[in-house]
């Protein structure tokens, strides 16, 4: 967190660029994380139809442990 000391001297234009870049990183990371949670907790073979029930059955015990609905 305190690595900002190196960046405080940056001019406003620079900090705006950092902010825009960070926003894109944040959105991309959130999307990937959400997709992972969906695949593990919600998907019933309809995310990638080719996976069928394999993904569901592989994460079966994890679903039960974390309290996600399962069949």
């Amino acid at each position: 967190m305190s690595s900002h000391t190196a960046g405080t001297a940056a001019p406003d234009a620079g900090s705006a660029t950092v902010r825009a870049r960070d926003l894109m990183i944040a959105v991309a990371a959130a999307l990937v994380a959400l997709l992972a949670l969906y695949a593990v907790f919600v998907d019933n073979g309809n995310l990638v139809s080719a996976t069928g029930e394999y993904l569901h059955e592989f994460s079966h015990d994890g679903r039960h442990l974390f309290g996600a609905p399962c069949h």
Partner: protein
């Protein structure tokens, strides 16, 4: 979460990537610890529940007068045990990403001093446990294998996601209430009581959601033990996530400052 000692100034954007890296590292470690914890303590219960389910299914079929061959399973129980650990790591990584993003958004432009990174991380982990584990878990507690009708799974998923959303909204409400009261000059007793009121309100809102429609044909002791272990697994995940994330932040502070 209110560092009102910091003088008001244009918030300097802290680079996001190092925070995200801490979140991923802490989340992966927390997921692995949770997975091993569950493998050791919860798996024996899940195996027991599956054996009981198979016996129940066999007895029902015998009573109905026709006997099927045992249901073909995609994976052996051994593979599913391994899957539990992998799933826990994936969940830990994903939760770690969101943890880092929320942490960065809440504390944007206000670097922590001293043991601040540790306190902030533990506080956020506690909030995460309340919002995503304890509150939704009170309404829809975890069930062992053998519970859950395939026909109601979409309905139960909608209810579960709704409970997660209500848990998050209620926790944000409690935080905002105490923050605004602090800005208005109220002392800790008033702030904390008001925040507790917001949490109680959230519990009431959760119980306005429809109940889980499925029957739970499981022995009470097995059910209780499994639910306690499930909640303990959640607690292990959040505690490790907050602890590792906070410790990594401390390391940075002591090195640079």
């Amino acid at each position: 979460m209110s560092d009102n000692s910091t003088p008001v100034q244009a918030p300097t954007p802290l680079p996001l990537l190092p925070v995200l890296g801490r979140g991923v590292l802490a989340g992966g470690a927390a997921g692995l610890v949770t997975g091993l914890f569950a493998l050791l303590l919860a798996e024996p219960l899940m195996d027991k529940a599956i054996v009981a389910e198979e016996k129940r299914a066999a007895a029902e079929e015998a009573a109905a007068g026709h006997v099927h061959a045992a249901e073909e399973e995609l994976f052996t129980r051994g593979t599913q045990h391994f899957g539990l650990v992998v799933t826990a790591v994936v969940v830990g990584l994903a939760v770690g990403v969101f943890f880092a993003l929320v942490h960065a958004a809440v504390h944007r432009g206000r670097p922590a001093e001293g043991d601040g990174p540790w306190r902030r991380a533990l506080l956020l982990a506690g909030a995460g446990f309340l919002a995503l584990s304890l509150l939704p878990g009170l309404r829809y507690p975890a069930n062992p294998p053998g519970v859950g009708d395939g026909g109601t799974v979409s309905e139960r998923q909608a209810l579960w996601v709704a409970a997660l959303a209500v848990g998050v909204l209620g926790t944000v409400l409690a935080w905002q209430v105490q923050l605004r009261l602090a800005r208005a000059g109220f002392g800790a007793p008033v702030r904390h009581t008001a925040a507790a009121g917001a949490v109680v309100l959230t519990v009431v809102a959760l119980f306005l959601l429809p109940s889980n429609p499925d029957p739970v044909p499981v022995a009470p002791t097995l059910l209780w033990d499994f639910r306690v272990l499930s909640l303990a697994g959640h607690a292990v995940l959040w505690a490790c996530l907050g602890g590792v994330f906070g410790a990594l932040g401390l390391g940075r502070t002591s090195k640079t400052g």
